[in-house]
Amino acid sequence: MSENGKPKFGMYWASSCGGCEISVLNIGEHILTVDEIFDVVFWPVAADFKYKDVRGYPDGYIDLCLFNGAIRNSENEEMAHLLRQKSKVLVAFGSCAYEGCIPALANFTSKEAILQTVFLDSPSVDNPDRVLPQPVTAVPEGEIRIPEMYETVKSLDQVVDVDYIIPGCPPEPHQIWAVLQVVVAALTEGAELPPKGSIVGAQETAVCEECIYPKSEKKIFRFYRPYEKVPEPGVCLLEQGIVCMGPATRGGCGALCPQVGMGCRGCYGPLGEVKDQGARMLSAMASVIGVGEPEMDERMLEREFETVMDTLADPAGTFYRFSMSHSLLRRAKVNGNGHAEPEPAEAGTTNVEMAN
């Protein structure tokens, strides 16, 4: 706590889009309250901090640090270590820090392919000397350094110890405000904080539980792309064959996307103890796909199931839209020094098949 008795607050982004910051602003006039309650000691977008001061802060100086963004390069990782050291409570804020989010779709491809596509193969690029960005470049006046891009996009918990998680891309403003109130009560009135490792600002139930469309036992025989069908109002999208990640996704957003007729894409992450959101979705699919007769043998059943699944475009990129860093599919694991190593495929898991 500061001399003025206020808890110290920090917020930082690594590889991210800035949407988490906008969502914090979208708590509206509560932002003035945040300014009253907290002593902001590090918030690049909001406060006149001294960068070197962050390094100079004693360990654990920041009471609450919200870290958004994935770990895409060496600079992101350095900041993660620094803020872990300086913060009492470090929160993985938003989907990127939690599980990689959209940037981690890059884990389906490689760093080399990204550089090739962006700087050499792009149809508008003019690069006759086939120049690629370099960690160190000698220019006539001196030397310029840029961070090293990693092979694999990592979540925050893959590089440092994380105390809490606030999921969402981005976390919804009402959830952010609810969490901040809990933290304030803990810091000022000694109220108890949730157990370390908790996912906060979200529900313990699926998005479906918050959805306005009731579920029936209706089965489907094919999937429809969102432009192939105008959904029937008031009916569960998945039961109409429109892919919706609701059953495999933690609630807390208020089931916003299905309410405008668009399927959930899973940005609040997997539910409960489940680590692998795609595997969970696959089993949800099994319960909604209407194939098979009671006496049918397993092989036949599997074939019929696959026929329906074949009508689903890009299952891996859909089921792991936001969670590639945590997926069992990830092609590489990260060792202690931040370099990626090939990881052997997980044998016997259904989700590995989906990578094909």
Partner: protein, 496 residues
Amino acid sequence: MTQQITIDPVTRLEGHGKIDIFLDDEGNVDNAYFVIPELRGFEQFCVGRPAEEMPRITNRICGVCPEAHHMAGTKALDALFHVEPSPAVKKLREMFYMAFYVTDHTTHFYALGGPDFVVGPDAPAAERNILGVIHKVGVDIGKQVIACRQRNHHVIQMLGGRGVHPVAGLPGGWAKALTEEERVEVEKIARENVEFAKFSLKLFADVVLGNQDYVDLVLSDAFTEPTYSMGMVDENNMVNFYDGKIRVVAPDGEELVKYEAKDYQKHIAERVEPWTYLKFPYLKDVGWKGFVPGKDSGVYCATPLSRLNAADGMATPLAQEAYEQMYETLGSKRINGRYQPVHYRLSIHWARLIELMFAAERMLNLVTDPVITDPNVRVVVNNIPDEGVGCVEAPRGTLTHHYWTDENGILTRVNLIVGTTNNYAPIAMSVKKAAKSLIKQGTVVTEGLLNRVEMAFRAYDPCFGCATHSLPGQMPLEVVIRDSQGEEVQRLSQFT
């Protein structure tokens, strides 16, 4: 002696930003580099995804302007699937987009650009932020700003599904229709927006134009850079954000080219440098001559000011009035019915407020259009997709999405030219020019210098950093002065 200016952390688009300024032996600026040290690679990792997911994936390029990526992506799907949206769909999308423009321009002016003028460029850094603005103009105005953002984000959520990262865009359509009850609410919001835009223009006139020091700063050579101007225009050559042709005019106002967005590759190419992860677009019709201004250099700007420069005027009355006032005040001559472009970079802030008025008036026009409540805005599309380009004006510049797919609509190739990227070369030049005019023969670097160098790129509202979009919008800037051996001799921060 080497001087290095580091802006860190500045993020979004393709990551953080950093400026390296090198001095020569006399202590004058030798060169300046604006470095973008991060790359996420959407062009590559979107390959293999279903095309219709692009509006929901590419909005994660920028959480400050996700609506722009969502809309460019949605329009690219129209082209990709060969489907022409109905007038109701187009108007509904455009109305959603105007709500976004109002909130985005408001955020920039009050949280970021405004503090430099309202509080003053030489005020202590601790006051040069939105809270400083509120102290100067009163807490009621601060609450008005927050209320403006809130009501327009409400519209964004109502029509787009979510307040950040909307989901409603579909090929040829839009997932959410507007009910009459909602229409009445949006009309009220649009009227409030027009009043707020009037208020903001008046605030600018009182605080900035009423202060000769600020006017001198706007007109000063340090912040003047003649380049080509790019912007989208409607069939009458008026500014439009949602649809139209791309027009490029020379520094003297002569039209270089007006092209269909799908032909962008004929007119735009991108240079690669080894010291940054971001590419430098330039005009192919002129050619790349390096980081230099003028008519012979292919460097162009795509900002609120360049949109006004490239157009013949504004399509709504109050915005047109404000537009004329700006060009008259800045001494621009009308030639063949058009004002000559102005190149005072700080007047981008003024242009942004004129656009705020246009967005508010346009939103009001659209919400009172009888077709806006057409319930049939989502359509079934059966056409075989192949290739499509979608283009809108993002607040920070012309935004182009280009997709190729197989016959199943699975992406095989993606190209993106993002709003701020257009301005990468001019921003780098503006930073260098500001540094050059302020650092002479080893002048002692002061905090005022840092803020003025910062102002040079802040005017563009660069999407390199949330730092430039958020409350209260103070950017960490640090100057490290090193001797020729690389030893640090002085370190200054504007927050010291």
